[in-house]
Symmetry: C2
Subunit: 443 residues, 2 copies
């Protein structure tokens, strides 16, 4: 042991929040969790690490470079870089003990050793739900997912949002139809960049880098630029008369999903077919989702996902189709702060601070217990600190209520409660005091 | 990418729970969190990793061997092995932006690469609270901590428990008095093993390994074996008339804490002075706590902690005294299961499953929304699965209520609700149905 002091700092790409940030962050995390639970999802809490063999089974390219790897004893570990790989392993391993459709939610930190830059984190929360079937999973669930996105973002109360929907079979089918199968991965990647690079650059890249002819480029571009309300877009897609099985399967699925979403009561203006979304290189095979905040589309999709044919193919010979989404909460949180959509004012971990004015704290403690029974977060400030300093503390911590308990309150079985914001002060009996506080806190 | 299937398994020392386990585990975790929050603690969520320099500043011996270490880029990381080191660094770094006393709670996974054995985990939850002062921290807080332990374990509802209390200054002072300062660390370690090895072995070890004479051993053993109710023990300690400053400071602190705990309304039978507890080699300097379940003491302390003079000495020249405790939840959970103190029956993530009997699900969906508004966890089972299979699913998942919505319910604006446990079934209007469900769920 040495007495040298190590200057503490936060590691690049990691987050250490101040109390008011953490409280607000946790509120959002709780809202998401409550929403997922209300839709009957089961919590799943996978280890932070798994064997490298498991984690790297699917990885490759950029992802693999970003993975944190370590060896201890005779085990080679990787930290999880998403929640999907651990879910896939879990389903493959525990499949016989689960009920299907298995509805799982995960709210967990994941790890990516990216080059640190604004909006990129090396440790961040992903909030996932997945509905996994055995052998089959009804298209109905592709429509349920947007209804859960809608409920969740409505509860988060961060402004208007639009759930963009497409189906991977449409573009895949179109590429088959255009005999572009071999280049489909690369073309999808280019289209995925549309928002960033603009339509002209997409066209140029397809022409120069991928040697597509003008006619082919026009068909692709006309397709991804189809617009109008959802019914109109469906009509336009139909009118293309693309003679390809995959394409038409995608069209039918899309139509079914859009209709079912309506039945789920999601307002029309919150759902938009967007044929230019592709979910990049991911393993999606059908319906795909991206969610944008109307007031700041530039921050990108805040909730994405889709349908996959076979979740656990690296870990099981059985077939587990599924559909899921993920909210990248850490990134979203800081973007909302930066865009003043949420703000840190008035975040307090304490609802009431009780200040006993007598040496004997029995009565004050009874009051504290009584308040906590109604879920009022209460501290009993009975240390020897000066009253002035205690009130300073209450102010700094944004504590909304202070309760004074002195001889006269003890005698009359009352409390003196002060609203620290309005300055209003009243001596009243405890149940009435509780009502004042609960009304203010809206609990 | 290869198509070879990797057989999934859970890594030794890591935990992957089945849904009913996870739901019960999370309930306990939520109870602890709610208790900590009701006492005004602020959430703190430190990164899983920090620089090796920070994590290893305090470590040494066994702990250091157990640490998971990794390098990526130019950073040498360690996974946290407890919540205290990250807290210490955080306080040292953010001290100027915090209000003191800083009341923090952390419910987080920590990592220790121990040799796997029964009851030992490599990844496990620790649920910590700490109250940290700047320069000073009133002894009052040493008494508040047991009142929070009491509240928390009472809410956990896992049977009777006893909070054992001592003060490190007592044994330290006694060793000074006996001129055993140099051997004090080793002797504390022997005493710490009392429960495991018994009093005869403690005596023998002190005589043979540490060459203590019979008289000295008798004084130590008589001291740690002091018993009786708390008042009696205080009298017996006083009667020893040990002429040592440290010892008498410890006695005074212990007396103050025991009296204050009473004022906090913690029942006498839940608090016991126990002079043989030492908290091993830890950095505690005053009051120490260990909590035992009366019905299974053999599982050891389920909530331990104490007072430390200087939390952040490795990271700051400033002085941050504190007091805190930790619940090792993962270990506790599995011990409670094994001892049948908790059980997994009837854990369901779903309160109600709605079965629409018509193609149009508008009305069924309205019912689902209505139930969720009252925090009833509801799934709308509108896929094309056969009714029989849906009811099987409800049974397997322990769903307590199924609601049928057919033509006649839609016409009469009612629902048919079936209690899956009693088999009772009734057709009634939706608000009445909600009351039936809420009464059953006690929400």
């Amino acid at each position: 042991m040495s007495d040298k002091i190590i200057t503490p700092k936060t590691l690049s790409g990691f987050v250490e929040m101040l109390p008011n940030e953490q409280i607000l962050f946790n509120k959002m995390k709780d809202t998401i969790r409550q929403s997922y639970e209300l839709f009957g999802f089961v919590p799943l809490d996978c280890p932070v690490m798994d064997s490298s063999q498991v984690i790297l089974a699917k990885a490759g390219g950029e992802t693999e470079k970003q993975i944190y790897q370590l060896t201890k004893g005779d085990t080679d570990y990787c930290l999880k870089f998403d929640n999907t790989v651990p879910l896939a392993k879990y389903v493959a391993q525990k499949g016989e003990q689960l009920c299907f459709p298995y509805r799982a939610y995960q709210i967990a930190k994941v790890y990516r050793g990216e080059r640190p830059q604004k909006g990129r984190y090396r440790e961040f929360y992903q909030c996932d739900i997945d509905i996994v079937g055995r052998d089959t999973l009804d298209i109905f669930y592709d429509a349920e997912i947007p209804s859960i996105i809608y409920y969740t973002f409505d509860k988060l109360n961060i402004g208007k949002f639009t759930i963009n929907i497409s189906n991977r079979k449409l573009l895949n089918g179109l590429f088959e139809y255009l005999n572009l199968n071999e280049k489909s991965g690369e073309i999808l990647r280019i289209i995925d960049k549309l928002d960033k690079i603009g339509i002209k650059n997409v066209k140029d890249t397809l022409a120069v880098d991928y040697k597509l002819n003008d006619k082919t480029i026009k068909i692709i571009v006309d397709f991804i630029e189809i617009n109008g309300n959802n019914d109109k877009q469906i009509s336009k897609i139909k009118a293309l008369n693309i003679d390809n099985e995959t394409f038409n399967a995608g069209l039918e699925e899309l139509q079914t999903v859009i209709n079912q979403i309506k039945a789920f009561g999601v307002p029309d203006e919150c759902v938009a077919i967007n044929l230019s979304i592709t979910r990049g290189q991911d393993y999606y095979t059908g319906t795909i989702y991206e969610t944008y905040l109307d007031s700041c589309k530039e921050i990108g999709s805040v909730c994405s996902g889709g349908r996959y044919d076979n979740l656990a193919k690296f870990y099981s010979a059985k077939n587990y189709p599924g559909v899921g989404i993920s909210i990248g909460l850490t990134r979203l949180f800081f973007q909302l702060l930066e865009n003043n959509i949420i703000n840190l004012e008035q975040q307090s971990p304490i609802d009431v601070m009780i200040l006993p004015m007598t040496e004997n704290i029995d009565y004050a403690n009874t009051v504290a217990k009584n308040l906590r029974r109604d879920n009022i977060r209460t501290i009993l400030s009975a240390d020897t600190t000066k009253l002035k300093n205690k009130l300073n503390y209450a102010n700094k911590m944004n504590v909304p209520f202070v309760i004074f308990v002195g001889e006269s309150e003890i005698e009359t079985n009352t409390v003196t409660v002060k609203n620290m914001v309005s300055g209003e002060q009243v001596t009243t009996e405890i149940n009435n005091c509780k009502n004042i506080i609960k009304k203010y806190l809206e609990i």
